[in-house]
Amino acid sequence: MHSFGYRLNGLLTFAVTILALMCVIASLSDNLNIPSPSAEIQIMNINWFQKQPKGSDEVSLRMNISADLQSLFTWNTKQVFIFVAAEYETRKNSLNQVSLWDAIIPAKERAKFWIRSSNKYRFVDHGKNLRGKEFNLTLHWHVMPKTGKMFADKIVMSGYSLPEEYI
């Protein structure tokens, strides 16, 4: 009952249990943080808007994205993954979400920013429904902790629309 093996087993179980408890408490402390992020996106320009050879609509646009996400960071935050998605509905689909741009914010200091960019990922529809389409732009963020529960939320900005004719 007092051999080395038993003592090591007992010690290890205790250590792992304490470690797990610390991780849980660290994660729970994230709930104390009440974030107040803000963001704004402007579409500077529609670069082009065409129908692909095999039939789907595609748009390329240039955006001006500014945001202040510093309040999302806690001591237990490893990084915040953000992305901008266009959300719209079509006759056949009740919801379409297409991610246009994303970034990783590794630290609180970099969480207040202003960037101008074309869409990183292709904005292609599931058909030919984009002419004159009204859509929302949503800025989503995903707070990835050093340990524990991940939090995700978004800001929805509405009122954007695509041209009636192909450019």
Binding site: N9, G10, L12, T13, V16, T17, C23, S27, K78, Q79, F81, F83, A85, E89, R91, K92, N93, S94, L95, N96, Q97, V98, S99, D102, I104, P106, Y121, H126, H140, H142, M144, P145, K146, T147, G148, K149, M150, A152, K154
Partner: protein
């Protein structure tokens, strides 16, 4: 002691999360710097619809499941079936080339769970045991 408590926690997690494999080990670096090889992810699978930004674990008939983020969702109005596209954060291209079926999209039936929480480094035990079966 360690093994029995691990088993109890495992079975408890299966019950709570409603998923067949509530915990997965991250095996590749395609989600860095968020998830590194050897991290453990806690999964949850409920009836909520799949939306862009969620980190999902899917297996469309391959050897090991893949943990990537959803970047596109096209949900049909009547059937509520959705076409889903995923991509690893650290990968330059989306996963279309990886999907095993000739389908260019993923469906919900291939998704085993959503990642909701994570523990760093703990998964190395599983990786060591599978890579070096002698131990």
């Amino acid at each position: 002691m360690v093994i029995s408590s691990a088993l109890i926690i495992w079975k408890g997690l299966i019950y709570i999360t409603g998923s067949e494999s509530p915990v997965v080990v991250v095996l590749s670096g395609s989600m860095e710097p968020g998830f590194k090889r050897g991290d453990i992810l806690f999964l949850n699978m409920n009836k909520d619809p799949i939306r862009a930004g969620q980190i999902v674990v899917f297996n469309d008939g391959r050897d090991v499941p893949i943990v990537h983020r959803v970047i596109e969702v096209h949900e049909q109005r009547d059937s509520k079936e959705a076409d889903i596209l995923t991509k690893g954060d650290a990968n330059p291209h989306d996963d279309r080339m990886l999907y095993t079926s000739s389908n260019r999209w993923l469906q919900r039936k291939y998704i085993m769970g959503r990642a909701v929480g994570f523990l760093p480094y703990v998964g190395w035990l599983t990786i060591i045991m599978t890579d070096k079966p002698i131990i």
